[in-house]
Structures are given as C-alpha cells and as structure tokens.
Amino acid sequence: MGDPLFWHRLQFGFTATYHYLFPQLTMGLALVIVVLKAMGLRTGEARYNDAARFWIRIFGINFAVGVVTGIPLEFQFGTNWAKFSRLSGGIIGQTLGMEGMFAFFLESSFLGMLIWGEKKLSPKGHFGAALALWIGSWLSGYFIIATNAFMQHPVGYTVAADGTLQLTSFWAFLLNPWALGQYAHNMIAAVVTGSFVVAAIGAFWTLKGIHPEQAKLNLRVGTIMGLIFSVLVAFPTGDIQGKLVAKYQPISLAAMEGRFESGPRANLTLVGQPDVARRRIENPIQVPAMLSFIAYGSFSSDVKGLLEFPEDQWPQNIELLYYSFHIMAGLGTIMIALMGLAALLLWKGRLDTARPMLWVLMLAFPFPYIATTAGWAVAEFGRQPWLIYGVLRTVHGASPTVNAGHTAFTTLGFAGIFVVLSVLWLFLIGREISHGPVSHTSKA
C-alpha cells in the first residue's frame, strides 16, 4: 500500500475511465437527437419526434451519471495532484473555468427545457433546445480535450521564476494543434458510440418484434450515421491523430507499434506480441513500409524505434500501450466493415429481415466503448512518464501531504459507488428500452 503515486494514478485512471463511458454516449446522442428533431421538423411526421423523445430520456439518465462521475475528476486535480495544479493551474484553469461558464450552463439550462418543455415550446423552439444542448455538450468536450492537449503537447506558456507555468498565448493554448486533431477524432468516435447504440436498440426491437415502426427508424438512422462516422473516425481524423503522435511524441509511436529498431521503410505491425525484455515483436504479421507512410506520408521515411531514446523516457507500460492501440485500430476496422455490410443490406431493403445481421448489430454495441476506452489508454499511457509532456514528470505532480492509505480508502469508496451506479444504470436503461418510445399521438 506504501506508494501514494500508485493510488493517485489508479484513482484518476479508474474514475476517468468510468466517467467517459457516459459522456461518449451523450455527446453522440446529442447529434442523433438533433438529426431526429430536424427530420421531424422537415417531414412533420410524429415518428421522428417519438424517437427523439425516447433518446432524450436515455440521454437524461446517462447525462446524470456523467455529471456525477465527472465532479470527482475536477476535484482530483486539487486533492490528488496538488503539485501539478499549483504549477499549471494558471493555464489549465482557463479551460476548466471556461467549460463551466460556456458549456455547463448551456447544457444544464437546455436539457431541462428539452425534457420538460416539449409542450410549452413550439416545434422549432424544441429543436432549438436540442441544438443548444448539442452545442453545449460538444463545447464541453473541446475544453476538456484542450486541457488534455496541454498535457500532451504543451504550448503557449513560459516557466516563471518560481517554477510555475504562466500563460503567454491564450490562442496558441486554446488552438493547440494537438487539441484540434484529437477533438475531431474523439467527437466523431462519440457519434460512432451513439450510432451503434441506436442501431443496437433498433435491431433488438426488430428481433423481438416490438415497436416495429420505431425499430425500422432507429435501424436506419443508426446504420447510416454509423457507417459515415466509423469511416470518418479512421480517415481522416485517426490518420491526423497518428501523424500528431509521430511528430510530437515519437517515443509513444514507437511503443504503440512495439518498434525497437530505427530505420526507413518501417513495417506496420497488424498482429504480434511485444517482448520488451528481448526488444522485439514475437510472431508478427506486418505490412511492409506502411508505418513510414502512415506516420510521415512517404514509404521511405525514417521511423525511430525505442532503442533510439534513453530508457527512462520510455512509457512505463509498453505492452499495455501496444495492445490498447491495436485493440482500438482493430475494432475500428471491424466496425467499418460491420456498418458497411449493414448499410448495404439496408440499401437493398433486406436489413429488417436479415436476422443474423441484426443479432450482430445488437451485440456489437460494446465495440465503440471498448475502442474509445482503449484509445484514451493509448493517449494517457503514451504520455507517461510525463504528466505534462517534457515539462513535469508524473512522480513530481502528486499531492505531497496526502498519504497512500487515504487515497486507497477513497479509491475503494469510488469502486463501491460505481458498482451501485452501474447496477442502477443497467436497471433503468433496461426498463426504458423495454418500454420503448411513448407516442404523444397514440393513446399509450
């Protein structure tokens, strides 16, 4: 139990990972709801509004859990990472403060209006509330990504005489190239999560033979949005993100690929196990020269391997980084194929009756969750051993006066709370799904 740093890291990683299960769905659903409300306005058909109402309820439950699991993260900066906060608060406090001021007020005001206001507001007004909620939740995402981007690739600051980091260029900080790339990749991934969930519910209802009209609608919306955004998440945004890592964190890139030797025409490893002790990949299946092309745009580019760098600069858990990256990329490829096939069947008009495909769609909804979680693991383990890349090592960021026992205690407290929350969440979501959409036009 002795090492406080271990518990601080475990607690932050654990609470952040659990938290992000919820916002990734709400940020994705926010766009789905806007699309449904827009279709409702355009066609005047009640089924779009019925579907939107159902997804607003699901959004509401997930938003609540997302909010309460997000509060601890803001507090942890001060409670667990006091030295980091003291040093960099003048910079990352900007984005965290802006998130409260510009995003949270917008979200909390308009979510209430979306849930309670459908009868009080005109259809256009209700669409406006959905639009405001979407903007609010995506703004919130930007401020958080910009905060993380400063830790990944610090820009727009100087180090003052007392060692603290001082903001010198707000715009450089806010428009950090890393933030722009990661934001696009991340938000599109959130829409993929939303689309897979929508498609899965549509498939479930179709297989059960309940809510037939809504089942068809959700299948269509989920599949079309799912295909478009699964492709976008890989190209161009995933590609851009990869090039950013290659440019600013070449050590992380080498670890992600399990590459030890440097040299041109670097191979892309599709499958294999990194053996760090023996400095090689076991049983690899590789595409020749592809890594050079992906990272730097030319097959003959030089890609540095881990051996090029001092060992104390290596990410501590190279295996975890390698597998996280390959799980993310592998699942991404599978998801594109899956949605491509579903879209083809939809286009042929056979999706509603293709039971095996519906089974796959229904069971595939965890894929984007796993892929995004793995993606964040790549970003965060890739940043190690740094808390702020190249500026502050993780060992120097934790609170000096908080002992391991206290942190272990609160970590266990969170584990307990999250178990209870998960059970309640599953129970409530399960109920909503079996109830299905409530139509305002029918007598139900």
């Binding site: 439950i61 609540a64 003291r86 608060g89 003048g90 900007q94 409260g100 909390s108 206290h406």
Partner: protein, 348 residues
C-alpha cells in the same frame, strides 16, 4: 488585478451558496413540509429544472479559483483531503437521488431516494459551512505552502486543529440553518396549498434561529481570529456588504409578514450574499490564513498567477458571466409561477 480576481472568485462562490442554498434547503425540508408523494413531487418539481444549473456555479467558481489562485486550490484541496471527498460523495448522492427518483413509481424506491437526498442535503451545507469556518479560523499552512489536517481531533482549538472543531461545527450549523430558512422561503414562494402553508409557518421561526446563530457565530469568529474585524474601519466594501445583508434581513421579515414570498426570498439571497461578501472583505487579502504565523498566509498577491493569465481570464469571464446570468433569468422565467406536480412518468 489580483484584487479583482479575489472578488470575482468570492462572488462566484457566494452566488453558488445562494443558488444551491435554496435547493439544499428544499432537500432538507422536503420530508418535513411534503407529506404525500404528490406533495414531494411538487417540491422536487420546484427545484428539478434549476438545481443542476445551480451546481454549475460551484464548478465555474472552482475553475476561477484554479485559474487565478492555483496555490490556494492545491493547498486547500489536498489539505482537506477526506472532507473534500465527503463533499464530492454528497454532491453525487444528491444528483443521483433527484434524477433517479422519478424513473420508477414504487414506494420503496422513492423512500430510498428521498432519504439519500435528505441526508446529502443536510450534510453538504454543514461541510461547506465548516470549510468557511476553517478559512476564517486558519489552517496550519507552512513554508512549503501545504498542510495536512485530520478530519477531526478533540474539537478544541489549538496549534493542531482538526477540520472539525467546535468553531467550524458551529459555522456548519449556522450554514445549515441559514440555507434551510432560505429554502423555506423559496418553497413558500413556488408552491401553494399544504406545502406552502407549512413552509410559511416554518420560515419565520427558522429566521429567528438564523438571527441568534448569526450573533453567536460573529462573536465566536472574533474569538478564534481576533484580527478579523480590524479591517472594518478601512474597508469600504465591508460596509457596503454589511448594508446589503442587513437590508436583506429586513426584506426577509417584512416580506414574510406581508406574505410576499418572492420579496422575502430575494431578501434571504441578499443576506447570504452580503454576509459572505462582508467576510471576504474582512479577510482580504488573505485567502488561506496560516495558524503558524502570518508569514505563511496564502494571499491574493502571493498565490496568484501571472498578469497575462489573469487578464485573459477576465476577458472571457466578462463575456461568459452575463450569458450565464441570462440563462438563469431565462430559466426562472420559463419555469415561472407556482409549480404543479407533473403528470406521472414525465419529468420529476
């Protein structure tokens, strides 16, 4: 510029207390003033659309503290480690209770969430009040800029105080009674029928208790921090703040007597806002007083970040603040009038 940010942070925190204060109060009272499920839904309906907006003030205020005075945030949050997590867990319990309660029409389910909602609503103002008590009394910050405190010790003051001692608990109780009284006026304003009548009856006696506790707490504060009122003669803002909270107090009693509960509620908001502002004016420029000696105090000057950061923050703050106020005005207007319990299965 540091002084300006000291005031911005203080104002954000004070607005948070006023706003979340009334829904804490409603949470504390709801088992007392609302007997039937219908009545409870009326109470929850009154705060339902507003509470998460209120809570945002805490995050926005915390963000302002973070960007302007990160040393205070780092020292305070890590020093109050366990108390901080109690606050977080209560915030989580409240949020979940109010959101989940409406999703199932079952007696046991609802009683459980009502209980957890009440429990968290009671504990939070006590903890936040105790936090204010700690700031007023002082904490053992040393030359490293950090401190460590036990959650409680023997409840006596001394060189090694705990987070909870008789003084901070007293301030916690004062805070609890004040937000309860504040919430009673809010509910009296927003409801009708039986709930309204019960809140009306409670409000005046609660405010009587607030008066008593205010006098006791002020005296106790002068005992634990004898220097605190020394700033008064030369701090014009303290006088303005004092006028505001005294006027607020007057409005509370006049409004409650004349049954004009919006007026009384505005008065109780002004009382809380003014009292906190007066406290801030008295301690300025100290943000975290050290019990080990004034040379270790964290002040608005020695804990602030560079000028460029403060200026940048000010620019977006001046844009964001009016927008946030606009949302609140819009929200209160949208949900204006007395609440009616919503149709089962819809909203709260």
């Amino acid at each position: 510029m540091e002084m300006l940010w000291f005031w911005l942070v203080s104002v954000m925190v004070a607005i948070y207390v006023v706003m979340d204060g009334f829904d804490f109060g409603a949470g504390i009272l709801h088992l007392v003033v609302a007997k039937t499920n219908e009545e409870r839904r009326e109470v929850l309906g009154a705060i339902g659309p507003l509470w998460d907006g209120n809570e945002v003030w805490l995050l926005a205020g915390g963000g302002s503290l973070f960007l302007a005075f990160p040393k205070v945030l780092a020292s305070g949050f890590s020093g109050f480690y366990l108390a901080m997590w109690l606050v977080v867990w209560c915030l989580m319990a409240r949020g979940i209770s109010i959101e989940f309660r409406s999703h199932l029409q079952d007696g046991l389910w609802r009683r459980f969430w009502d209980a957890s909602f009440t429990f968290a609503s009671v504990l939070l103002p006590v903890l936040l009040g105790a936090a204010l008590g700690n700031v007023l009394r002082g904490v053992p910050v040393d030359g490293s800029g950090y401190f460590e405190m036990a959650l409680w010790t023997n409840f006596r003051l001394g060189p090694q105080p705990g987070i909870l001692d008789w003084y901070t608990v007293l301030i916690g109780v004062f805070a609890l009674v004040t937000v309860t009284a504040h919430g009673a006026l809010f509910l009296a304003w927003k409801t009708e029928g039986a709930v309204h009548e019960r809140c009306k009856g409670l409000a005046l006696s609660l405010w009587g208790l607030v008066l008593v506790l205010w006098v006791v707490s002020s005296y106790a504060t002068s005992v634990v921090n004898p220097g605190i009122f020394h700033n008064l003669p030369k701090a014009p803002l303290a006088w303005v703040a004092t006028l505001i909270f005294l006027a607020g107090l007057g409005l509370v009693f006049v409004g409650a007597k004349r049954e004009r509960f919006l007026m009384a509620f505005v008065g109780s908001g002004a009382f809380i806002l003014g009292l906190l502002a007066a406290s801030a004016a008295c301690v300025y420029p100290v943000m975290l007083r050290s019990t080990l000696g004034p040379q270790f105090d964290l002040t608005a000057q020695n804990a602030s970040v560079g000028l460029h950061g403060l200026r940048t923050g000010l620019v977006w703050w001046l844009i964001g603040f009016p927008i946030a106020i606009g949302y609140i005005a819009f929200l209160f207007r949208f949900h204006r009038g007395k609440v009616k319990a919503a149709v089962e299965g819809e909203g709260y």
